[in-house]
Structures are given as structure tokens and as C-alpha cells.
């Protein structure tokens, strides 16, 4: 079951990356966000766009201190990062 923020992130990811195939209705919050097991079919180039989209929408910067590798592990880790860093 996704939280409200996780659901919002699903919408943002689908819009940003224009996912060709619709993701599952209720993706697991712990499923890998990037890579072959991603329910969204995202790769590392999509990750760059997501990092910037998060920065613009939530005013939280993912940079060397909080690497995108760590933050973009799953919907849950991304949502936790935003909650902890939102200005």
C-alpha cells in the first residue's frame, strides 16, 4: 500500500519519464526504482530526470551528500528522503 507521497511520486515519475507502459496499479514501495526489476522500466538516464524533477517540485537537492544511488533505491527511500529534507 503506497502512502500519499509515494502515490504522488508515482504520478511525477510517470509524467517525467513518460513511461510507455502503465505501471502496476499499486506498485510495491520497496521495489527497485531503477534497473531491470523496476516496475516503471526506468534506467539510469531516467534517474537523472527524476533527480532534477524532485529538486524542482520538492525543493530538495540530491547531491553528493545523499547520493541518487541511495535515494532512488525505491519509492519508499525516495519518499523518506523528501520527507526528511523538504524545506
Amino acid at each position: 500500500m503506497l502512502s500519499a507521497l509515494e502515490r504522488e511520486l508515482v504520478d511525477m515519475i510517470v509524467e517525467t519519464c513518460r513511461c510507455a507502459e502503465s505501471p502496476p496499479a499499486d506498485p510495491s514501495p520497496d521495489a527497485p526504482l531503477i534497473g531491470p526489476e523496476s516496475p516503471f522500466g526506468l534506467d539510469s538516464l531516467d534517474a537523472v530526470e527524476i533527480v532534477v524533477a524532485v529538486q524542482r517540485k520538492y525543493h530538495t537537492r540530491i547531491d553528493s551528500q545523499e547520493t541518487s544511488r541511495k535515494v532512488l533505491r525505491s519509492l519508499r527511500t525516495l519518499a523518506e528522503f523528501i520527507q526528511n529534507h523538504r524545506k
Binding site: G35, L45, E49, V51, I62, D63, S64, Q65, S68, R69
Partner: protein, 336 residues
């Protein structure tokens, strides 16, 4: 008993390994400070050097150089060893571990079984620390992984002796003669001046800001010279070098900004805080390039997303970095 090692996750493997090894020996340095003292920031575009059939673009100094520069500037001894024979290479690792020495190792990422599939690719200059052995497995502090991991001997041997570009040849390294105290001030000043020199004053058009402008020119001609499919492959490779491969994003510019922020406090030089903010802005502009390039590569361009527009952003980054490093050099020189 499990040996202890101060594992910290980091953005970039070499500076992370270096910082963790120094911390183990009692010199607690952040990843950013290690990256800065090692003069890790760089840029070069070598169209004639191919890795995975694509030209080499690098936003950081050559593998191994950060560790060597940090050791030299802080007066730390570091020993490197390479091996032709895998058996001898593993035996030497076991001997050092038996003496309680945490050992750095260069490896091929693709062969490390604990790496998530999404992060596995053929890159042979990945650094990690081996700090213990349990049965037939090694205890590993891999700085890009959240927690220490165990890795089987067969897998580690395969990773240490991976073949291909940047083949590690079983390379091991460990610190010796680590001083109890260091004076980071001269090390920081010397390191900043070296980066300023490399970025603005090397008379080779492939290096520093001149290299960025050269890349911009080549980028504009990729579609006509290479065709669209290959042009996008070349572009995607530049973006991956900038935003992946342990960069922390922004082509290592964000790590360098964090270093300048720390250096401002150590040197009591508040002017460096402005430089830190400027470097973050430059990293953001590199990220603008990456985002526009990623959209183009993924077949969803917006507005002006095309090769000339991308080349324009790279030239803007080059101009910004040219001014930045000249002024930074003046500031550091003026303070002796």
C-alpha cells in the same frame, strides 16, 4: 571475532575508500575533504581513447591519483601491489589480513555479486576495502554500498583479476606510516591550486575548460558524422560519466562544492563559501545538460533539446568554470 572497520557510504569509490582507510588509522576526514585534497576534480575528453567502444570523457582525475595525492600531501605512506598470478594475489591479501591490515583493492564491478543488477557494468576501476576473512568469504567495506558485505573468494578473485580496459591486475593498496596529526592547511592550498592549473592552464585542447569546448564542438558534429543512433550513444556515455560512476551528480562538482565549504572553515577563509555556492550552481548547469541530453537519448525531447543546444550548455559550463578557477586561484595565491 569480526574485525572492525569504519565503513561509511560515499558518492565516489576512490575518495570514499581513501577517507575510510585514513579514518581507520585515526585521521578522520570526510569524503569531500579527501576528494579535494586529492585534487579529484578534472575534465578531459579523449576521443581516441575508447572504453566500451566509446570515447573517454572524464570529470575526475585518473584512477589512483586521488589516493596518491592525498598520501603525498598528508605525509602518509601508501603501498601498491599488482600481480600477474591470481593465486599469489589472493595469498598476499590473506597474509595482510592475517596481520590485521585493511587492504584496498581495485576490482571489476561486474563480478561483484552483492552489487544490485542495475548497478553492474563493465568498469574495472572500482575500489573497495577488504578488512577480514570468514571461512571462504571476505568481509568487504564497499563505499557505494550502505553496509559492509561478505563476498566469496571465487567472486572476489574474479573481480580483482577482471580483464579489459583498466584491468586491475589484482591491485592491492594499504596505508603505512600514518602520522598521528596532520596540518591540512598547506595540503588544501596546494590541492586547490593544482586543480585551478589543470582546469585552466594546461596547453592541451582536450583537458580542462579547453577540453569542454572541444567536446562541445565535437558534439555538434556527432549527428552528421556518426548518424543519429551513434550520436545518441556518445551523448548517453557523456551523461553516464557525469551523473553516474560515483560522481554524486553534477560531474563531481557537488562533491567539490562540499570540499570548498569544509575548506572555508579549516582555512578560516570565508571567501571560499561563495566559491562553494558557485560550484554548486555550475554543477546544476551540468545537470541541466544531463537532463536535456537524457530526454534526447530517451526519445522525448522538449523545446530546444538538440545537439547544438546541448553544445551551447557545455560551452556555458566551460565559460563559468574558466572564470571560477581563475578567481579561485587568485584568492588562494593571495593568501600565501
Amino acid at each position: 571475532m569480526t574485525p572492525s572497520f569504519p565503513h561509511r557510504q560515499s558518492a565516489h569509490c576512490e575518495s570514499g575508500v581513501c577517507a575510510n582507510l585514513l579514518t581507520h588509522h585515526g585521521l578522520s576526514l570526510s569524503e569531500a575533504m579527501t576528494f579535494g585534497i586529492g585534487s579529484g576534480l578534472f575534465f578531459a575528453y579523449f576521443p581516441f581513447v575508447r572504453i566500451n567502444h566509446l570515447p573517454l570523457t572524464t570529470f575526475r582525475s585518473a584512477p589512483g591519483r586521488i589516493l596518491r595525492q592525498v598520501a603525498k600531501r598528508l605525509g602518509v605512506g601508501v603501498t601498491f601491489r599488482t600481480f600477474r598470478d591470481a593465486g599469489k594475489g589472493m595469498a598476499e591479501l590473506d597474509r595482510l589480513l592475517a596481520e590485521g591490515v585493511p587492504v584496498g583493492a581495485q576490482t571489476g564491478v561486474y563480478w561483484l555479486p552483492y552489487f544490485p543488477p542495475a548497478l553492474r557494468f563493465h568498469f574495472n576501476a572500482h575500489n573497495l576495502v577488504v578488512y577480514g576473512k570468514e571461512g571462504d568469504s571476505y568481509r568487504i567495506s564497499d563505499p557505494v554500498i550502505a553496509e559492509p558485505v561478505l563476498c566469496g573468494a571465487v567472486d572476489l578473485e574474479r573481480a580483482r583479476f577482471a580483464r579489459g580496459p583498466l584491468a586491475p591486475n589484482g591491485k592491492l593498496f594499504f596505508l603505512t606510516n600514518v602520522p598521528k596529526r596532520i596540518d591540512p592547511v598547506p595540503a588544501i592550498r596546494e590541492a586547490i591550486r593544482e586543480v585551478c592549473r589543470l582546469m585552466t592552464r594546461i596547453p592541451i585542447p582536450l583537458i580542462g575548460v579547453r577540453g569542454m569546448r572541444y567536446l562541445a564542438g565535437r558534439m555538434e558534429s556527432w549527428p552528421s558524422r556518426l548518424g543519429e543512433r551513434k550520436a545518441l550513444l556518445h551523448l548517453g556515455n557523456v551523461i553516464r560519466m557525469q551523473e553516474e560512476v560515483g560522481t554524486g551528480g553534477g560531474g563531481f562538482r557537488f562533491i567539490y562544492a562540499a570540499f570548498l565549504q569544509e575548506a572555508a572553515a579549516v582555512l578560516d577563509e570565508h571567501g571560499l563559501l561563495d566559491f562553494s555556492k558557485r560550484m554548486t550552481t555550475i554543477g546544476d548547469h551540468w545537470r541541466d545538460f544531463a537532463v536535456a541530453g537524457a530526454r534526447l537519448c530517451k526519445g522525448r525531447p522538449q523545446g530546444n533539446d538538440d545537439f547544438p543546444a546541448l553544445a551551447r550548455i557545455v560551452r556555458e559550463c566551460a565559460d563559468a568554470e574558466h572564470g571560477f578557477f581563475r578567481e579561485l586561484d587568485s584568492l588562494v595565491r593571495s593568501r600565501g
